[in-house]
Symmetry: none
Amino acid sequence: MLEVDLSSPVPVYDQIKAGLKGLVSKGQLRPGDEAPSIRGLAATLKVNPNTVARAYRELAIEGFLDARRGGQSVIAEEAVRVAKGGLGDAREAFADAARRARRSGLSWDDLSAAVRTLMKEEP
Amino acid sequence: MLEVDLSSPVPVYDQIKAGLKGLVSKGQLRPGDEAPSIRGLAATLKVNPNTVARAYRELAIEGFLDARRGGQSVIAEEAVRVAKGGLGDAREAFADAARRARRSGLSWDDLSAAVRTLMKEEP
Amino acid sequence: MLEVDLSSPVPVYDQIKAGLKGLVSKGQLRPGDEAPSIRGLAATLKVNPNTVARAYRELAIEGFLDARRGGQSVIAEEAVRVAKGGLGDAREAFADAARRARRSGLSWDDLSAAVRTLMKEEP
Amino acid sequence: MLEVDLSSPVPVYDQIKAGLKGLVSKGQLRPGDEAPSIRGLAATLKVNPNTVARAYRELAIEGFLDARRGGQSVIAEEAVRVAKGGLGDAREAFADAARRARRSGLSWDDLSAAVRTLMKEEP
DNA sequence: GTGGTCTAGACCACC
DNA sequence: GTGGTCTAGACCACG
């Protein structure tokens, strides 16, 4: 459902935030649904619960999650709108990565080819 | 000649390493050429000399640079081979970014479109 | 546990690296053990934490330490093998020092005597 | 006649100073003899003349060399006494190296053996 | 002028 | 608390 890359320079909690927004963008999670529990998600991602907690805390501040008593968080009504904004962030982050790849000597063809290859692996 | 993105989560010294390897990959810098001086490069990148020095030190360990006693560093003969390896790293980093973008909810079409847009901006 | 000679021409971070390898060579530190914390070791050696950090970073690259995300560094399984290599380096450095001492006019007897004297002071 | 180890952390000019004192200690060079020319010595040691010049300048300050007009330096009358002092420095430097070797995990037997081995190679 | 080492101290990510 | 990155600036060795 969610994946995280521990060896990436991108902070894990940012990856978790982006991942949850992605699930909502793709409609796999809807406003009103319960978000995965912090401990459970931490276990499946093999990550410290504090790291997940930080992601949830920031998502709550952004209005993407509603923190309920007892710890269960719920996808907020606003979540769809917030996730839309997240899409722009994701696109910008991807563009930055593309620019860095260019500076490393990859051609535009290399980048297009890389995208096509990944697409075939996991359409 | 070289650029660096200070707001990126990728460490600046890694960007400098990748950038130099890219210049060699693209043939803009050749074995035997003098590498930019640490202080000079630091000034043009608006970065602390120590940060550039760290990049150079690691490049020297990798055999990409020859650090001469008391003089400029020189692109090593091995540099082309090492830079080739760097291309693989760059491609891998780009693939990771693409996967993260996917998890954030972008479609493969979004990614292809993003690459095409960037290509038009800076061909 | 570890000592460092600030007035030596040998860089402090190299002495720290050699010292840790020595502790493993002597069995006083074993794979799986936690390495001293960077800040703690810096404090006991009266050295800047950055200097210790540099030593640890290089030891991690060499595969002697496992740098865990957000936790203590741990002596790697490979450490014993790496430390064995360090013994060779240490012997070579000592041989160099002996050759320099010879060039300075000391006789082989002087060197043997010096070793015996030190041995009595700290057996 | 003289040797220098460029990869040693000990400054080259210090090695040159120690080497010249060693030649006097061993009687291969006597007060009143001409010291090797700076340019010539630099050429045979494959070292920058400035480095040799610095060694000579410091030796002159210590009273070990007499700098004559025209550039030729001469071993001073005092040189024997100064060289004796240099022996103490050399012994201390060797002792430091031995201590570092010990911290790296070498036993006293290792050190004695190393000295014996070197002695056989170049008696 | 060059690179190399070290210090001091900041901020961030993670436990 | 931990390690990692970065800055600012000092001093040294070398050309």
